[in-house]
């Protein structure tokens, strides 16, 4: 019973961790999907007002520019991307993004240009490098530590409930001999 209960709990815990890890990309994918739909909408709206944008190359450039712009922070409003922001500076920055892409730069080069002028801060999603790694590693570390603590608790709980003699003797919160006798009595009767 003890081993089985412990095993069941660990299994449940494992399932939870796996579920959480698996869930993150799903959420991300959903976000990306809605983002793309949004971009497509803007591209469609732009095409409607400017017929020359029906050219598929232009439309692709627009979509690419919107994707890069969505990753750059508006320096004026700070918590919006330059794609969402209506600040004059953001609109000009969006134009710069498109111009640079049209001139043949890759999205990575365009991002690098803005990082070179405004610093890493301009990226809404920090790069996983140097001290930024903390942002990515700490939550995972907290999850692992939490799981370890939970495992310890569950093991202790299983031990005191099952009363395995060898394990109970090593547990720090062991029962006094009197309580142990009482517990055994209760267990026998019940």
């Amino acid at each position: 019973m003890t081993t089985r209960a412990r095993f069941a709990w660990l299994l449940a815990l494992g399932a939870l961790v796996v579920g959480l890890c698996a869930g993150a990309p799903v959420v991300k994918a959903q976000e990306a999907a809605t983002g793309e739909a949004g971009n497509a909408d803007t591209a469609a709206a732009a095409a409607e007002s400017r017929p020359e944008l029906l050219d598929p190359r232009e439309a692709e450039l627009d979509a690419q520019a919107a994707e890069v712009a969505a990753q750059l922070r508006c320096p004026v409003c700070r918590n919006q991307s330059i794609l969402e922001s209506n600040a004059e500076l953001s609109r000009e920055m969006q134009a710069v993004v498109r111009e640079r892409l049209a001139a043949g730069e890759s999205p990575e080069q365009v991002r690098a240009y803005f990082v070179g002028r405004y610093g890493e801060w301009i990226l809404l999603r920090p790069t996983a490098r140097g001290i930024n790694l903390l942002v990515y590693v700490l939550p995972l570390l907290a999850l692992v530590i939490g799981a370890l603590i939970l495992r310890g608790r569950l093991r202790k709980w299983a031990v005191s409930a099952g009363g395995g003699p060898a394990e109970a003797a090593t547990a720090p919160g062991e029962l006094s001999a009197e309580n142990e006798r009482w517990l055994q009595e209760v267990l026998r009767e019940g």
């Binding site: 004026v76 004059e88 500076l89 000009e92 610093g119 801060w121």
Partner: protein, 193 residues
């Protein structure tokens, strides 16, 4: 168990309080700039009087490059300091340059008629030069050395102490013509307003 909680609580609380103390005492308006020590982005811009100015032509001189607008209150406050800078330094040694940010030529001229300041003020159509310099608000001032490298960026109004210490230290750096900091320079003249 109790004993464990006793050290676990400060273990969790101290880093969080530390982060809060650090985060809440920062001036979040001023961002760190990657441009200090880098070559100043080149430009060729039209001035409000119709001439054109290229940064490359000023190689060998210290440049105080000031982004400003007539609607900007701190710009009004620092204007006297810039006038003093221009009056203090020999223009063949150190020059003040203004870049007008998100403003009309008419408003800029009215501001200058009122407050003076006859150094060269340039128009920046579509803010391309401002973006090249990572400007996010005015006033912002760049101190550029004789070699064309950016020595310092100041966000917010400059003080005379800052200008003097920056310009003096940049002028003290020995300079041989044709040194580093080469930037081809981009012409924004004639670009859409």
């Amino acid at each position: 168990m109790k004993r464990k909680i006793r050290w676990l609580l400060p273990l969790v609380a101290i880093p969080i309080l530390g982060l809060l103390a650090f985060g809440l005492t920062r001036n979040t308006y001023v961002l760190p700039t990657p441009l200090e020590g880098m070559a100043a982005p080149g430009f060729r811009l039209e001035t409000i009087s119709g001439d054109s100015v290229s940064l490359a032509d000023l190689r060998g001189r210290v440049v105080v490059l000031n982004f400003w607008a007539s609607w900007c209150v701190p710009c009004r406050a620092e204007h006297g300091v810039l006038k003093l800078s221009q009056a203090t330094y020999d223009p063949s040694e150190a020059v003040v340059l203004g870049v007008i940010y998100q403003d009309t030529k008419e408003n800029a001229l009215r501001f200058l008629r009122e407050l003076g300041g006859d150094w060269r003020h340039m128009l920046d159509p579509s803010q391309r030069t401002a973006i090249d310099y990572g400007v996010y608000g005015v006033p912002e001032t760049f101190f550029i050395g004789r070699d064309g490298l950016i020595g310092h960026k100041k966000v917010g109004p400059v003080t005379w102490d800052l200008v003097k210490s920056q310009v003096d230290s940049l002028m003290a750096v020995p300079y041989a013509a044709g040194e580093a900091g080469e930037d081809p320079g981009v012409s924004h003249i004639g670009a859409a307003q």
